[in-house]
Symmetry: C2
Amino acid sequence: MDLISFMKSYVDLTPEDEIYISQFLKVEQYGKGDIIRQPNTKSKIIHFIEQGYARNFYEKNGKDITYFFLKENTFTLPVDAVYFNDPTKYGLQAEEDLQLTSFMYSDFHRMIERVPGILHLYEIEMAKFIRQLSDKYYLIQFQPALERYNSMLEKYPDILLHVSLGHIASYLGITQETLSRIRTK
Amino acid sequence: MDLISFMKSYVDLTPEDEIYISQFLKVEQYGKGDIIRQPNTKSKIIHFIEQGYARNFYEKNGKDITYFFLKENTFTLPVDAVYFNDPTKYGLQAEEDLQLTSFMYSDFHRMIERVPGILHLYEIEMAKFIRQLSDKYYLIQFQPALERYNSMLEKYPDILLHVSLGHIASYLGITQETLSRIRTK
DNA sequence: GATATCTTTTGACCTGGATCAAAAAACGCT
DNA sequence: AGCGTTTTTTGATCCAGGTCAAAAGATATC
């Protein structure tokens, strides 16, 4: 779904609103494995994923670790950079061929000034993100590896179809080898 | 700091605005250990902590686990209940004598209608929360126990002064015994 | 200020999952 | 189809931190 249609499922937009908003948006295509945003940058760009899966990742002791998976119809932005002007440690990478709409956070606030309802949409999207982050946290705080994997199977079975097992392992806070052993059961 | 003063540090409020907002607010006092919200409820109340420290907690296999610490001048609300009408697993408890201001999420939106700037304040508070949650997540995804504790010492030394070690251990995703052993170094 | 309760520390033991290494399988690419 | 690259599996070893149990220290209560 494109961003304008997504917005229209929450708030009414006049044709003029659409034109106004569109001027700030840039539709982009990426291929599997492409880096959309490098880690440790201060980019203040918001991405809306229209098609395909992506992930946030960071590097720790030379290891690539997945922080979050992003599916279609979700927003992603580097909170550290946008709100606190600090570099984010999280990069953004396409897990498969990807189409997304990008826009500056500052322009986003112009859209909100014109169509205040968008801020409410944004509030709900932030709430969704917090919820997912909380669930994720709950998962790794005290659950053994098997339960982490089962819980993921149950909650996000779609992700398994779009990303490699190595990425899932680090997302779950376990090694690839452990994940492999768990899966043979 | 009381909530009205806190708001005024972000947005301008006329005396009439203050009166309007105040009608929705309830100031409450709690003693150390008091449960402010039980786990598994659908409460849609937002709390603003004016004085003292609190924590979110949940129960897992008969064990009490700390999910988050809350300090003065922060908001806390059960995201699952407020935004998705699901019960939250997280309860809210006073770590020490506490003063807080409570209000309904629905009334909060009335305040925003009257003073739209409050939504921007709220946006920033949500961003702060996401950031803390991300940091927390980073901490436990692959860090060994010692680094978790050191990182906490560095980032939130104040919390150590207000809560018991058992609560800190579960917050860090380790056992009390391990924390104790780490600290003797 | 003695007793009950809660919190923290110490000790002994054990296990889940990490690490290192290498084989096997899957996936491009020309 | 065949060859290089990446991903996944399998095997052997090891250790950080969990578990259980009990002592020692704090705190609160009458």
